[in-house]
Symmetry: C2
Subunit: 490 residues, 2 copies
């Protein structure tokens, strides 16, 4: 067996362990009785420990040294293997363990601190998390030849730097300053009809409709399930996708949009290149690309007039109530300055991300002390959106990310939103009758295009390379601004 073949075999074994863990994590969220939690934690820790042990095995280093990949894809695969092995071995064990412990403690304290609007309680634990993350980022950055922050960011999305993202986000802040008041004014001048209030929208009918919509979007239910969990997600494995949602019987739009969002993620997984299944290069390219796939479905296609017109008809029939396009637009395309990121509309969402992106870089570099975070947060949001959080629960305590040790993740959301607009523009150029299909609820021409230009590439390319390959240019925020202009400023 060649060193390369041996590497493929070893990574396939690691992937099998990760697949088992993915199924058990889905089960924990969607099926498991409460009493199973402790044992599940130990099962997952065992699987993660073994996967790490196999990945860090010195034999991998030897095989990486000796491997002679024969194709571009194999070459890319070896590159990804090398980075994974390096990430698994670069950090001293005691630093890894201290980081895990610190994040676990901090997250627990954060839950209460958020509930009680008590930033002081979590200040010291967060300081510990930031300090340990700084140490890790420094070591990883050195090993990978990147800045510490880029080393963190690239573990979520390869192929786009903080400098690139920062320039684009900052430009967007300028666009928003001018566009947001205009959008608000236009919106205020229009009537705002409402959906039939309170429904009820029976859960079983929501679920049946959500399933139909996902199938019409191209989701293959012979390799997927739709279930319920407290926090919707797309889990499972490429060959057995598990998407979840939650239902509110007074508001069907929430679950329907949630399922379509997760369907975008699921299609990406279902269309990954089977020839490199269970290999690093056969996986999704990263979180920003993943988010572009959920958002091109949910935000670009589904929330456009053509699809919403169709959806209004389906909802009227499913719930036996008058649901019209204008009311759906009020519900799904309303711009509003708000404190909470996860409730933000697509125009103001990037401001929430830019705020966090700036602050987490300052925390990591030490330019911003943890103690000064609440003030910096409030100043930042005031500057970006002109509103000031009344308390830290609606400010710097709202998101789990930092308190759980995830620094470098936030930019993925907005990189994904912008990439979605750029990809949609390219798809429209090539497929001029997309809108006609959307008007029938049929996303398959779009998702087929995405399968060819994004999904099927796996992780063979990085973020900007994928965009360049699919659209002819690296990330260009013009498309996102043009999308918002067309939807909200005309």
């Amino acid at each position: 067996m060649t060193p390369y073949a041996r590497l493929e075999q070893k990574f396939a074994k690691i992937a099998c362990l990760n697949e088992a863990a993915a199924m058990l994590s889905w089960d924990a969220a969607a099926m498991m009785p409460d009493g199973g939690a402790e044992a599940r934690g130990e099962q997952l820790a065992t699987l993660a420990g073994l996967a790490h042990e196999f990945l860090a095995d010195p034999e991998i280093a030897a095989d990486l040294e000796a491997a002679t990949p024969q194709t571009d894809w194999q070459e890319a695969n070896v590159g990804l293997m090398r980075e994974a092995h390096l990430r698994a071995t670069a950090l001293p064990r005691d630093l890894v363990e201290a980081s895990v412990r610190a994040a676990r403690l901090c997250e627990t304290i954060w839950r209460q601190a958020r509930a009680e609007n008590d930033f002081a309680a979590v200040r010291a634990p967060l300081g510990e998390v930031v300090a340990l993350t700084r140490d890790s980022a420094g070591i990883l950055g050195e090993a990978l030849g990147m800045s510490p922050y880029d080393a963190l960011m690239s573990q979520y999305q390869r192929g786009v730097s903080a400098a690139e993202a920062g320039a684009i986000f900052t430009r967007y802040a300028g666009f928003l300053r001018e566009a947001l008041p205009r959008a608000e004014a236009l919106q205020a001048a229009r009537p705002q009809p409402e959906l039939p209030a309170g429904g009820p929208y029976p859960q079983d009918r929501q679920a049946a409709l959500a399933r139909d919509l996902a199938a019409a979007a191209g989701l293959d239910f012979s390799r997927a399930r739709l279930d319920i969990s407290a926090h919707p997600f797309c889990g499972g494995t490429a060959s057995d996708i598990r998407i979840t949602t939650r239902y509110d019987e007074t508001d069907a739009a929430s679950a329907l949009m949630g399922v379509l969002h997760e369907t975008g993620h699921a299609l990406y997984e279902q269309n990954l290149p089977t020839a490199f299944r269970r290999q690093p290069v056969g996986e999704a390219a990263g979180m920003a690309v993943h988010e572009s796939q959920s958002l091109i479905v949910e935000m670009q296609a589904v929330r456009g007039d053509a699809y919403l017109t169709h959806l209004a008809r389906l909802m009227s029939a499913a719930f036996n109530k008058p649901v019209g396009l204008p009311a759906l637009k009020t519900r799904l395309r309303h711009v509003r300055r708000s404190f909470i990121r996860v409730e933000a509309d697509e125009m103001t969402y990037p401001a929430h991300v830019l705020l966090r992106f700036n602050l987490e870089q300052a925390l990591l570099s030490g330019d911003l002390a943890v103690a000064d975070l609440p003030g910096a947060w409030n100043d930042g949001l005031t500057s970006l959106l002109g509103i000031t959080p009344p308390d830290d629960t609606q400010g710097c305590l709202q998101d789990i990310h930092w308190y759980d040790g995830a620094i470098g993740y936030f930019p993925s959301y907005t990189l994904g939103a912008m990439a979605a607009a750029q990809l949609m523009a390219a798809a429209r150029r090539e497929l001029p009758d997309l809108e006609r299909h959307f008007a029938q609820g049929d996303l398959s021409p779009l998702t087929g295009w995405l399968a060819r230009h994004v999904h099927g590439l796996g992780a063979s390319l990085g973020f900007n390379e994928i965009l360049e390959n699919a659209t002819g240019e690296t990330l260009n925020p013009d498309y996102f601004e043009a999308h918002l202009t067309a939807r909200y400023l005309t």
Copy 2:
């Protein structure tokens, strides 16, 4: 760390892998979309391969050599570890692989052979399975100091030999020869009222009632789920039990009895000793003991008059139909000579087991050629029950066991049925008002007694030791015969 502590740690890791596999197997039967089957197979193979690799590790042998257990339980634990390590290492790798391949092929061919009543098609593959099993059994028997057949039987149930089982089963055949015609005559002389035919018994009401019955039997649903699968089973792990059933809307009794049967298995798992969780000695004692726990619930307690009277009331209310005790007795306590084991009543069931027990020993020893199996089967059933299968589909092709390589399993069913009667007799002696509780659907005094005398012992004792400990004697078929006499011959 002491060698013993190291062993505990290693076996806990193996147990975690097995727990992950158990959850994935449950998922495959109850949740997984069809398209996930291939990937699931590879996930399970990876987990099984790792568990085997860890179990066969020479370091385990060294630690077993050096371990100094401090208590009886630790001593028993080490003994079970030693046997598990020995079973994992005794067989040459090519024999194990040939056996797995042969069984997989044979099982596939058997499915079609059974459908087409074509024993000739599966004769050669079954011959291969039997020959390879003979080789394995010889090696294992030598290593364990047992006969080859006992070495197979003891992998399913320790602590009872084929000689002991054979003597008891043969005696039972004599009892049956006399008892069965009498039971049939008594039955024929009584009116046979029927349950409301065809129902419908809506699935959701069956499920709700089944859940209530299981909870009243003591099942803790904070650590359990009830779902649907094609073949009902009790899976999952001790801390997160997953029982399944299937529903027939024309016949509620089938699912209700099925759930109560699996509840008996589930209670055993839920009450295993937590101090030895994830250790061999903390697991269930074997398949015969397990079957005794499902049957003491389903056959001994539930199918008795007291519980059935209560159940008739609950069913009448749940399905809004007149369900009376006499009709339930017709449905659930009817004796009938039949060809199919899984449809047999509790009186004739042991005849089906004795037939297989005799034949599989003869196949293993070589006294019976595979080619002669159909004839031997038909002669055997004719001798035991006085009926002759019209074809092999209803004869020697009906069960998957042999074709899948499972020789030595069948006796567990009847050892379990007999043990259940013996345990029930002992429980009745200690708890005179059991019937009063059964009449209210409350099995908790019985299951509490079982938790103390069976469940909580884990695998610290073998089959006959458990019975001796709980009832004062090793397996004594008198109790089973007395139970049948009371139920069917008076």
